[in-house]
Symmetry: C2
Subunit: 369 residues, 2 copies
C-alpha cells in the first residue's frame, strides 16, 4: 500500500494544485488503484454526491431531480512515465512560453481535466443540471480494457444522460465528435526465385507500386458534419517485404490507416477502401467508429454559448465515440494542447486549467443566478 | 579425428563412387579439414603431381613444360546439411527422372565436379597442357574467407594459367563468365506525426512510390558479350518502413539487387543506378564484378569444340570472376542442375557426372592421340 499521507488529495486545493497532486501519483494503465483510492477519498463526505466504486473507476452523481443530466468524464491512467514525474511548475519568467507551465506525465493527458472535474464535483452542490461524474481506468490501452466501456457494460444505469463532456485535452475549447479510424493490410503476392534468375520469379514488392501510387495520389477530403470540418487522412503506416538479399520476394504488405469523418460508419469506410484498392488483397485489422459532434443537442448549444469560443472538430479518436454509441451526444473539453499528449515534454498552461474550470463552473451554475 | 577407414577415398573408385564418398564426408563451410585430408591422401603418391596444402585447400600440378597451363578448380565445402547426408543412389527404375540419380547435400554443389577432377588428376599423367588442380574451402560463406582468394593472396605463383575451368554445376555444358551484382538501399525521408493529424507530417512510404514504379517499369536488357547473351535484372529484394500503427512514417527503405552483364564494371553499374534513381538517397551496400565469358581465348575455343555443345551464359555469380580479375579467362563446367544447388532435394544425374568426366578427359588427352 502507498503512504496515505502522500496520496491524499487536499480537499481545499485548487484545480492546478490538484493537477500536480494527481500527476505525482503515478497511474500508468493497469496501476490506477492508488489514484482511484485518492479520488474516492476526496469525494466521500460530500453529502450531495452518491459515490460508486467499480474496480478502479469511480462514479459520483447528484440526484437533484433536475430535468436534464450531464455526464462529465475523464480517464485517470497515463501512458508510461519517462523520467517526467514528479511534475514541475515552471514560472512565467523562466518558461519558454512566457506563461506559467506545469510539466510532467499526465499534465495534458489528462490529469488537468480530472483535477478540474474533481474540484467542481465537490463545489457544485446545487448545479443547473444533474451531473454524473465518471473517472475511469485503462483508457490508454486496448479497447476491451477501457474502464468506461467496462462500467457501461456492468452498470448501464450509471452511464446515462442527455449530454456528455469528456475532459480530454482540447486547449480548453470545445472539440466535437471525432473521426473514425480503420486499419487495413494490403498484400501483393509473387513467386520466389534466385535474384540471378529473376525472370523465373514474380516480384511482389514491384507489384505493390500501384498501391503506394494510389496512396500518394489520394487527396484527403474535408467533410463538414453539423457545422464542423473534419479532415480525413489515408496513410501507409508500415510496409514490409523481402526474404533475403538474393531472393525475389513472394509477398509484400502495406499497413494502412484510414481516418474518416463521422458522417460515415466504419462499414462504409471499409467498403470505400475495398473499392479504392480494388484488385488487391485487403484485410481489415482494426476499426473504430467516429462520433458526430453532437452540437445540435440543446445542452450542447447552451454549453457552446457559455464557453463562448468557436467549437472545433476533434481529429483523434476519443471516448466521445463510446458515448455516441450509447446515444449520448458528447464533446471533448479539457485543458492542454493535444499534440503534447504522450510527449516526453508534456506540459500544460496553468491558465488553461483555470480557464477550463471557470467555463464549466459558469455554465453549470448558470441557472442558479 | 574421424575414422580414416571411413574418410579415405578409394584410389580405384570411378567419379560417381568418388562423388558419393565425398558427399558422405560432411564438409560444411569451416569444417573442411577431413575432406581436405582425404583429397590430399588420394593424390599423394602420384609421381606426376606436385601437391601443396594450404590451410584446407589443396593444389596439385603437373610440371611437364607444356606450352600452356590450364587451371581446374572446385570448392570442397557445402551449405549446411539438412538430413540429406549420407547420399542415396536412386536407380533409374524408381527415380522420378527415369535415370539414375544421386541424392544428397553436395551432389550438385559441387562434390560431383570435385570427384571428376580428382579422378582425372590421378589418371592424366601426360595431359596435353600442364594442369593446376585447385580444391579450396569456404566458397559458400563471406568473400573474405574464400579459399581461392586466400590461396591467390598467399601463393600467387600457384594460381597462374592461360585458361581456367571451374567445376560449378552447369549441367555439364560450358557456362561462360557471369553477371556482376550490386546491392543498394534507396531511402526516402519524411516527418513523423500522429496519423489523426497526418497533414502535420510527411509520409516517407508514400514518397517511395516512384522508386517502386521505376523498378516495375524497368525492362531488363539482354546483353551479348563475346557471343553469349546475359540477361540483366533489377529487383527489390526487401522493403521496410513504419513506426507504429498511428504514426506517419519518417523513413522508408527499398533494398535493391542489380545484376548486370559483364560488359560493364560495378563502377559503371553504380553510376547507372544513381542516374536511374536520381533524386533519391542511394547507398551502395555490396558489389561484385562480373566476368566476361573468356571464350575468345585459344584454349577456350578448343575446349568448346571438344565438349561439342553450345556454350551458355552463367547468370549467378561464381569464382570465375575471381579468375577473370587475375587475368585468367575462365568458364564454369560441371555436372548438376544449378537450380538444385542448396535445395533440400539436391540431386545429380550420375550420367552427367560421367559425361563431364568424359569431355574433360577427351580434351585434355587430345594431343596425346
Amino acid at each position: 500500500m502507498a503512504d496515505p499521507a502522500f496520496t491524499a488529495l487536499d480537499p481545499l486545493a485548487d484545480s492546478v494544485e490538484l493537477t500536480r497532486a494527481l500527476c505525482d501519483i503515478p497511474s500508468v494503465s493497469g496501476d490506477e488503484r492508488t489514484v482511484a483510492d485518492a479520488i474516492e477519498e476526496f469525494l466521500r463526505g460530500s453529502a450531495h454526491l452518491e459515490v460508486v466504486r467499480h474496480g478502479n473507476s469511480v462514479v459520483a452523481r447528484t440526484r437533484l431531480g433536475r430535468e436534464r443530466r450531464v455526464v462529465i468524464a475523464g480517464h485517470i491512467d497515463t501512458v508510461p512515465i519517462n523520467d517526467n514525474v514528479p511534475s514541475r511548475l515552471i514560472p512565467a519568467d523562466v518558461s519558454d512560453e512566457g506563461i506559467e507551465m506545469l510539466w510532467g506525465r499526465g499534465t495534458v493527458d489528462m490529469k488537468g481535466g480530472v483535477a478540474v472535474q474533481l474540484r467542481l464535483a465537490r463545489d457544485l452542490v446545487d448545479p443547473s443540471a444533474d451531473i454524473t461524474w465518471i473517472w475511469y481506468d485503462n483508457e490508454e490501452v486496448s479497447a476491451e480494457l477501457n474502464g468506461l466501456g467496462v462500467l457501461a457494460a456492468a452498470h448501464p444505469e450509471l452511464v446515462v444522460g442527455d449530454f456528455a463532456i469528456l475532459g480530454e485535452p482540447s486547449n480548453s475549447t470545445i472539440e466535437g465528435g471525432c473521426n473514425g479510424s480503420v486499419r487495413i493490410e494490403v498484400r501483393t503476392f509473387g513467386r520466389r526465385a534466385h535474384s540471378a534468375r529473376a525472370w523465373m520469379g514474380e516480384n511482389a514488392i514491384h507489384a505493390i507500386a500501384p498501391v503506394l501510387q494510389r496512396l500518394a495520389e489520394f487527396e484527403p477530403a474535408t467533410v463538414t458534419v453539423e457545422g464542423l470540418d473534419y479532415r480525413e487522412g489515408l496513410n501507409a503506416v508500415g510496409i514490409s517485404g523481402g526474404v533475403a538479399g538474393n531472393v525475389i520476394p513472394d509477398e509484400c504488405m502495406v499497413h494502412i490507416n484510414y481516418r474518416f469523418a463521422p458522417n460515415r460508419s466504419s462499414e462504409q469506410a471499409i467498403a470505400w477502401l475495398r473499392e479504392y484498392f480494388d484488385g488487391f488483397d485487403v484485410t481489415v485489422v482494426d476499426r473504430s467508429e467516429g462520433a458526430r459532434p453532437g452540437l445540435d443537442a440543446a445542452l450542447a448549444r447552451e454549453f457552446v454559448a457559455a464557453v463562448g469560443t468557436e467549437p472545433a472538430p476533434k481529429y483523434g479518436w476519443t471516448d466521445v465515440a463510446r458515448f455516441s454509441a450509447l446515444g449520448i451526444p458528447a464533446v471533448n473539453f479539457g485543458p492542454g494542447d493535444p499534440s503534447l499528449a504522450h510527449a516526453d515534454d508534456e506540459r500544460v498552461s496553468t491558465a488553461q486549467i483555470r480557464e477550463c474550470e471557470r467555463s464549466l463552473r459558469a455554465w453549470l451554475s448558470h441557472d442558479d443566478g
